[in-house]
């Protein structure tokens, strides 16, 4: 009897134990990828590189929009995009400023992880991939320098001045170029050297870039089809800038300064699952660097020649014919902004388009109102410098560059300040160039005579830049 009981209990225990496998409620598997699933896997380096390119697009979303709104290029009349920086209120509590430095750092950390962990452990790691890792590392430092007075170069580390970031950019672009003679790296280095004021190196790099690829463009590519989350999420790969400029349906988009109306929207719908790519480096920059260097040495004719070469590049760029009737100009306050082709802006006709009358043609890469005649009739050094800055503004519109050209910088965000003991109290205070501080609310201002169809722009910022060209804030070659 006793044996029988023991046997029975044993069988029950054994069956219970084995049957647990058929219903194991404790078996929980995280479906996501662990570090081991990546590091050491064949082709992980190439896939990681795609991730870097994707992060570049996300970083663009988080930097270019705020920069465009802060500059005189665009005014935010209606959208939920940044509300502070339009009047140059650069506030360390502004979440967009936090996002900007976060995504620049994320790009850097991603590139470093590729260089240190993913690449060396992938049997299929190549020099080309490594060169690209270096390129994106350099690009992250380039952006850090362009948008910030100082930023940490390592997580929570001491803040390094923008010059240090440009130096790092030069170093990493060099590393990239040494592995693979790529135009992106040499053009990026030209841009970093430009910011450092290294005219000789900048010209040499620019010329080398033109020699390598006279039509070069590197885009940030978006993927609206596979985007998830909202626009402050980590996986938002819709072109937020295209949304801000074009896609907003019944809301107003960002509104351009009337003299730039013909360039807007640079990025517009291609198809439901494809957003327009945004150039992050293009060969026009090489010409502009050379032209500005020419001006800085007083060589106006050479600058004229360079700019004419530039026109050749610009004129060869893609122009898209789009239906922009839904956008119109300021739907909420009709008539407040010029919206017809007869409008003359500060004496210049043809800068404003009529969007209600069929398709409009908008440059998708580069456009300018400047023609050969205007280049050739511009003779003074300062006039030529102003023309260079006008062309920079027009050609780089919606590429987040005007902000830096105007001498603006963001500040260290509140989160960084709170979590990074190296942040000094003055790093959270905005450093607005004195020549802009007094006119901060005038940057997007104009008067519009709706009967005479004339527009008068309140401030010509290019004039202001040139008038202050010796200031440390602007014109690196001066």
């Amino acid at each position: 009897m006793k044996l029988y009981r023991i046997l029975l209990v044993s069988i029950i225990v054994a069956l219970t134990y084995t049957s647990c496998e058929t219903v194991d409620p404790f078996d929980v598997v995280n479906p996501n990828l662990s570090e081991e699933a990546l590091v050491g896997q064949p082709n992980s380096a190439a896939i990681w590189l795609n991730g870097l390119k994707r992060q570049t697009a996300i970083t663009v979303n988080n930097t270019f929009i705020i920069a465009e709104i802060a500059s005189d290029n665009y005014v935010n009349t209606q959208t939920f995009y940044n509300q502070f920086v339009d009047d140059l209120t650069i506030d360390y509590q502004d979440d967009d400023i936090d996002d900007a430095q976060f995504h620049i750092a994320r790009l850097r950390e991603s590139a470093l992880y590729g260089l240190e962990q993913i690449g060396p452990n992938d049997p299929n790691y190549t020099d080309d991939i490594q060169a690209d890792y270096f390129f994106y590392l350099g690009y992250s430092h380039l952006l850090a320098g362009e948008y910030f007075r100082a930023l940490a170069t390592v997580p929570g580390g001491p803040l390094q001045p923008r010059s240090a970031h440009y130096e790092l950019a030069v170093q990493y672009f060099t590393d990239s170029y040494d592995l693979n003679m790529n135009t992106a790296a040499i053009l990026g280095r030209a841009r970093a050297n430009y910011h450092l004021g290294n005219a000789t190196e900048a010209i040499a790099d620019a010329q080398q870039a033109i020699a390598l690829d006279p039509d070069f463009i590197l885009y940030a590519d978006f993927d609206p089809q596979n985007s998830t989350g909202n626009n402050n999420g980590l996986n938002y790969t819709v072109s937020d800038l295209q949304d801000a400029l074009y896609d907003r349906g019944s809301f107003d988009d960002l509104q351009p300064l009337p003299r730039l109306d013909f360039l807007d929207p640079k990025f517009s719908v291609i198809s439901a699952n494809e957003d327009a790519p945004i150039p992050i480096l293009k060969i026009e920059e090489a010409h502009l660097i050379i032209a500005e260097a020419n001006v800085s040495t007083g060589n106006v004719p050479l600058a004229q020649q360079t700019l004419q070469d530039l026109l050749g590049v610009v004129n060869g760029r893609l122009v898209r014919s789009i239906n922009d009737a839904a956008e119109d100009r300021s739907q909420r306050a009709p008539g407040s902004r010029p919206d017809t082709a007869v409008v003359v802006v500060d004496g210049r006709p043809g800068l404003v388009l009529n969007r209600d009358d069929g398709n409009v043609s908008i440059p998708a890469v580069s456009g300018t109102s400047v023609d050969t005649a205007r280049i050739l009739t511009t003779l003074g050094v300062d006039d030529m410098l102003e023309l260079v800055y006008l062309m920079r503004q027009e050609i780089f519109i919606a590429e987040g560059r005007r902000f830096t050209d105007m001498g603006l910088t963001l500040v260290i965000s509140q989160n960084e300040q709170q979590l990074n003991p190296n942040v000094a109290s003055d790093q959270i205070i905005a450093d607005i160039p004195p020549f802009l501080a007094g006119i901060s609310d005038q940057l997007d201002a104009f008067t519009y005579d709706q009967t005479a169809y004339t527009v008068s722009i309140a401030v010509d910022v290019n004039e202001v830049i040139v008038a202050n060209k010796t200031s440390d804030y602007v014109c690196p070659f001066e």
């Binding site: 750092a105 993913i118 998830t228 996986n235 439901a272 009737a325 909420r332």
Partner: protein, 939 residues
Amino acid sequence: MKKRASLLAVLLWLLCVHVAYAQSRTISGVVKDAGTGETLPGVAVLEKGTNNGTATNVEGKFELTVSENASTLVFKAIGRAEKEVALGSEDYIIVQLEESSESLDEVVVTGQGVGISKRRISSTVSTISTEELRKAPATQLDQLIQSKLPNAQIKLSSGQPGTASIIRSRGPVSSNVNTTPVIMVDGVRVDNLNSNPELGIATGGAQSSAIADIPLEDIDRIEYIPGGAATTLYGADAANGVLQIFTRRGNAGKARLYFETQMGTMVGTEDFLRWDRTADALFDPGFVQQYRLGFSGGSQKFNYSFSGNLYQDDGFNDINKQVRRNFRTTVASQVTDRLKYQASLAYSNLEFTRDYNANTSFARFGNLEGGSFGDLDTLSNEQFNDLKENLRQQGEATNITEVINRFQVANNFTYDLSDKVVLSFDFGIDNRYSKQQEIATNELLILKGSFPEGTTDQGYIEVADRNFLVLSSNLNARYSEQVGDFDFQTTLGGQLFRENDYQTSILATGVADGSESVNNSADQSVQDFYRTVASYGIFVAENVGFKNRYFLDLGLRFDGNSAFGDEIGLIPLFKIGGSYILSDESFWKVPTDIVSIFKLRANYGEATLFPTPFANDRTFDLNPYLGNQSYTFANPGNADLQSEIAKTTEFGIDLGLFRRLTLNFTYYQTTTELALFTPPAVPSSGQAAQEENVGEISNEGFEIAMNLNIINTDKHVLDFRASYNFNENDVISSGGAPEFAVGGFTFLGSFVKEGQPLGYLRGAIAVQNPDGTFDIQRNQFLGTTFAPSFGTFALDYTFNSKLNVFVNGDYQFGGQGVNVDDVLRFFGGVNDEGRIPQAALDANLSFFDLAGFWVEDANYLKIRTIGATYDFGSVWDSRLKSLELGFTVQNPFNFVSSSFDPDVTGAGIADQGGFAGGGFAFGTESAPRIYLGSLRVNF
């Protein structure tokens, strides 16, 4: 000698009989419901002062052999007042038990593992009886219990069908999850996701909720505990409280049948509209119809019940439609003398259509109220009619649907191992499948103004599927022992639940108009979401009574969870409590007519909320990017991640006064230690925010509930019930982490910051300087969405036991909300007059800087239900056992301090059960006003 022997035998026999007679007698009888007269099975019948007892059978009958000198029998049943019956000479007795909401001896289950009388426990358990539940013909659980629980506040986020709610009692204890309690049906956990799923379709602020389709058939009663020590034994995620639904069982005897129908109309609430023309343009009263049929019956060994429900409404506008089809079957069987098996099976089907809401530029209601079409009053009739026609066409082209199919099964086995030991085993599942679908045709997109006329390649279809399964099981052993004046109830138990949440979303773009399939498209993309969690715990609980008036309640639980980090094992949770029935003391000289109950209670207990599953792991993502694979950092990982633990200390007094008034007062203080925060990482790290146990949150407050019987005569009974709750919530520590957003917008959001309430409203304040300029103070405290004061009330009058008239409602004050609609109107230049000082408007400040002007006090008093029923009793020569007619109005009156509805929220409920503070009123309609007539017949 033989004779003597026989005589001796007779004497002995007589003696034996005598002895037997001296030792026992047999009492039999039947137990019935005092109100309906229905017999009650399963009522415990005990000889007072002993462990001798039995239970009524399926016909409500019992037979108990008691000692000859037994003077009293005690009758106990869940949800009913315990009754003591003095034994006279009669051996057959009829006992009537009353349903009770406030009695010391009401038996409750929630929080104790097994049924226990309220007398013995030190925490509060609120119950809602069948009668109460029948007074509100609600379609979803949160609506049903609104205004009925004294210590819980329920706010529906929108009047659109199937939407989420904010259910809270003792304030938010977590920044990581919303305040929705654990919900159980017949001891089995059910899906309580009170927000959109992770991959749910964002059609604006309308959040879908799994609570909306919990079958409400045949609910016998609902028990609710608000957290604290009462929830310690539940472990895992019970810190927000536990709400248990118990379903009705069939009775022995002839089968009973009932039929019920409700019909009426649903009308959009215009109380909060900025423009009357909004209602003119969109609202359209809808027909509501509901049919219920049920029957039950059984024998002594087996009984069953079935009830089915069909519901349909046409909404209050031209788009919303809702159909519900539910049924529930229950069985109970006395398998052997010792083993009892009970089961309930429910199926629920819900299908509805919705409009675009709140946070999308497609929202018709949002666009009207948000000023997208300017000041509606200034439009000419012709302009308005054009707009109306355009909106009608938009409505016609709108196609947002959701379908839910849900099965719930609960099994319960009880086995009487001996007179003293009872084993109970529950297991069951809830399986809920939902499919949300949005079809945006080119036609719709053109009508919405997104694309120019002639567009043919922008149509899209989005589909979001969610398949949720929760499996739960409990095993308890209860041992009862009495030693002298002491009695012990020892419970040993174990629990396990596992949740699988699988979601997929499909986006098809370039869809041709006319297609309802994602196949007819230029491109498709898919995402999935997979979340599994297994939680388990074992506990031991001891409830010691001394002289039936001193009670000590002890509990210890060890809690494990698959969401814990690698460094974390089992978490111990502890509770201790005591109660003392002072009014039962012999020295208590206060006449019972004045004070009938005086109970003191105090306890300390720990309850938890487990971390987000998989948040402990370091992960990477592989994302599709332009047709290629791409890796990126995902979750940084945290090996030390564990549950946040809410530690509550509670004191209370329960008073019964003048035999007419019961008063309950409870003070509580809860500190959430190791609170789960997900603050941003240092931006220079480029790493995503990681969930960490770094915070500390305090909730302190008190709860007062009263029941007053104002009139109690043969003809008239008038009862009044009211409650007042006060809660103060504060983030004591953020562990050095910066503040982080948990809802709302960038310009005005809901944040977590040390020294402020959870989810406080943060935004800029514009202060005017003497020189007329404005000084902008950013990131300031603008208010809290969890009103510190709230409560419910109800008045109930019965005439002649036939006519019943009732009204209930709730209120809050001290909280704030944001009128986001007016922010949108500000963009359109049609903002509310007088809200923003002219000087600020002249200064051309951005809406970020003006944020403070849109925050308003959100005090309200709302009448949720007014109704009347008349019971005609037995009619048609008793062919109909009863016939009842009724009429109710839901949401008839709103008295509010704000220019918006404080209930609705367009942006304050995070997906997948995340933090829900609400408070962002915009772009969505309030709960509609519903007029319903009802007829109920019992056969």
